[in-house]
Symmetry: C2
């Protein structure tokens, strides 16, 4: 998918160098070729004149094939966010969960809405609204659970491609009859596998190399799947080398149920491993209550975890231990988990990841040497939102940072400025008021804790402008 | 303070009937007189014609002295929010706290900024931005901590009056030398009391009956105050019947320090009681780690608690137990506690109160009969944000609800609508997408969990329009 133009971006670029450190490049230039790839990062090229007279010549690019974008003072480019776990069909239910917990929430709120999206007009309306909102919040890659319906799932893939969001789109498999409602389940394991193959074929038809949209194998979670279904999906995974997404260890009741349904497996994680689904390309959402043995198994297999703090707090599931998982060698990213989570924003997920890590710390004993370090910093949660997420969805080295050879998935951020009288210079530029004396580190903290989609002025995916705001 | 016009509002009005129940009045009319007081609520008057031909005649109001406001379908009026604990001078630090906890946060971030606001130009800039943001978020009443500086504190009172926010404005007292930094402390207890009296006199000068702005006695907290100072403030309290605000039992280290500094008192709460400051007009912020005895004492004295969930999570202070306090007869409202809290929004505080209550529940044992009811509902946190807060600041019966005789402190809320194609009908109307099939209860849940200041289209205080948005 060629984009028609080359681009040079001039200004401030901020991205994660490591979980502990953000790198600030000021007065720099990033050159993006017509494949959406970063061709060059120049730390010395500070002006449009230098771009035109020096930089373009080095690249052998001509002025007329390049658009030059100059960020205003105070604005900065940041890597696009990665939402490594989100249910597109549940978008209309964001915020609606009452006092439910996982299993009754599924029955009361989730299955009826998901099932209703076999109506393609409704699916188009919901999916369009969901993908647009997600892009507006700076999410350049999403790993979507769709529904059981093939046509609606294919439609979600079409919409991601046309709206320009990098996406993994999964047709949900759930075939274990006693657990799945009669009105919303696969007829058999084979029926689920066949339908999965239909969606894979569809995505291959619209994006043959999966360069923007990819299928993803999506057993809902162990309680709704027969071992036949899980093993069948594992076999497709091995054959086609596709990614996998599912849920693990979200809620105590669910864990007890899995132990009852799969007595021969050593643990919830063990169920997936026994069926061949614990691969380096597997995204496990939640992982709140992992045992040491499960954490070790996940790390050994190289599977990844999507941490969904908004959802875990909303549904009273628990508080996942990011530091604990990192210490055990597990790769972690963030998920909104709409509509278990109430927000389409990965910035909100990052904020809640920081707050939830403090609740984890507060639950630890005084004097526990790990208590203080359990708390996640601004830098660490922004890493989870970008590089962490990229690694979780298997796109590390391709998106999540600014490096030559990576693709230009980025957002332009602007914070509001307070004038001398205490008014707002920037009009309705969101809630983050910058007084002017703040360090860049402080501005990042203010953005994390007070920012929203109003601060995201432009969103780019693979060199294409997919969202902009006045 | 007369406002020049009478008003009739037509549309949907939603307010807390009790902590458990929101009352929905559809197609109703609320009449507000030129003192900003609700003169009549008419549940049958559904049209402008009926207002003009029937309602106004009943009230003996003429058409030309009345403005009639008709809410659009889907919009609703909600009582203005009450922020029962907020530090105006710390506004620029919202979101900036690193990994600090209470005591090092005060030293590192808070005292230097507060002290710098003796520069009145800076104070004007910061306070104007703070009050404006607070109003834009629908906060019609704030209980402000200012700084030690008399002139800057008086300026905050002036600004609240001119911008139209109902406010309690407290000049901060801190005179205990070893605990207060040399650059930011009262010279003596008497110095602090004298300066407090100066601010009281100033407020009396600008608003003689404290009808919009009131002084509030503000010992920072026990560790920064001598008993002489605390007792002196108690004596002013008795003499002038003024409200009091301070902090209690926020953080473990602080509690240990208080025990060490006040060995003769039975508890942290006991320190205030021993000095005569535990009155029915006293607002105690935080109250995270209260003992049973302290809760009993607070309930007996009729003192109130401002729950500040954003702050408590950010500073790793703990998770306050709202249900537990309610069960013990304590009146509770919400505080943003900027900049311990990262947001000026009471809607955000309400959202976090719901989430934090789930963390409290998750910390309880399985099978604990109180576990489930510990979780706060949408209705309960919206009650805390309005009626609860009104009771905490001593304005119950005056603001926080819609009743004849109460004052018109209200906000007009509008949620965004999704069109048939999945686009947004309302332009940049915030993040809450309404698809049209949601019940009113579901809309309230979506507003609580996804709403922001963009949904607050108008804000009224005492019958005066103090903020509007396109």
């Amino acid at each position: 998918m060629k984009v028609s133009r080359k681009h040079v971006f001039l200004g401030t670029f901020i991205s994660s160098k490591s979980p502990q450190e953000l790198e600030y490049l000021h007065d720099a230039a990033i050159c993006v070729d017509d494949n959406g790839q970063i061709a060059k990062i120049d730390k010395e090229c500070k002006t449009v004149e230098l771009v035109q007279n020096v930089l373009l010549k080095t690249l052998e690019w001509t002025t007329d094939e390049v658009d030059i974008h100059v960020a205003k003072p105070g604005q900065f480019y940041f890597p696009g966010f990665i939402d490594s776990h989100v249910h597109a069909p549940q978008y209309p239910n964001a915020g609606i969960f009452g006092k439910s917990t996982l299993m009754d929430w599924l029955e009361t709120y989730t299955f009826p809405l998901e099932s209703s999206l076999k109506d393609l007009a409704k699916a188009r309306r919901v999916y369009t609204a969901c993908v647009r909102r997600s892009l507006a919040h700076g999410t350049t890659t999403s790993s979507y659970f769709a529904t059981l319906d093939v046509a609606a799932t294919n439609l979600l893939a079409d919409l991601c491609l046309s709206l320009g969001q990098r996406a993994f789109v999964g047709r949900v498999c759930m075939d274990y009859h006693p657990m799945c409602p009669e009105y919303y389940r696969d007829e058999s394991a084979q029926d689920g596998l066949d339908k999965t193959l239909q969606t894979i074929q569809h995505v291959r038809g619209i994006d043959p190399n999966f360069s923007l949209v990819s299928p993803i194998l999506t057993p809902r979670f162990a309680p709704t799947c027969t071992t036949e279904s899980l093993k069948g999906l594992a076999s497709i995974q091995r054959e086609m080398d596709l990614p996998v997404q599912t849920h693990v260890s979200e809620n105590d009741g669910e864990i007890a149920l899995v132990a009852q349904l799969f007595p021969e497996s050593s643990s919830y994680t063990g169920v997936y491993d026994d069926c061949g689904l614990l691969t380096p390309r597997t995204i496990l959402a939640h992982a709140v209550h992992l045992s040491e043995a499960e954490a070790k198994l996940i790390a050994q297999r190289g599977s990844k975890v999507s941490h969904c703090p908004c959802s875990n707090s909303s549904l009273t599931s628990g508080a996942a231990r990011v530091r604990w998982m990192w210490d055990r060698g597990i790769t972690v990213g963030l998920g909104t988990d709409m509509a278990g989570g109430y927000s389409p924003s990965i910035l909100e997920a990052a904020r809640q990841a920081a707050l939830v890590s403090r609740h984890v710390a507060m639950g630890m004993k005084d004097g526990d040497p790990d208590r203080e370090r359990t708390k996640l910093t601004v830098e660490e949660v922004l890493y989870l939102a970008t590089r962490g997420g990229a690694a979780v969805v298997g796109l590390e080295g391709k998106v999540g940072g600014f490096e030559e050879g990576m693709e230009w998935d980025a957002q332009l951020i602007e914070l509001a400025s307070v004038d001398d009288e205490g008014g707002n210079v920037s009009g309705d530029g969101g809630n983050v008021d910058v007084f002017g004396w703040e360090t860049w580190e402080e501005r990042m903290a203010k953005w994390l804790y007070g920012g929203d989609d109003r601060n995201t002025k432009e969103v780019w995916v693979k060199g294409r402008l997919v969202h902009s705001r006045r």
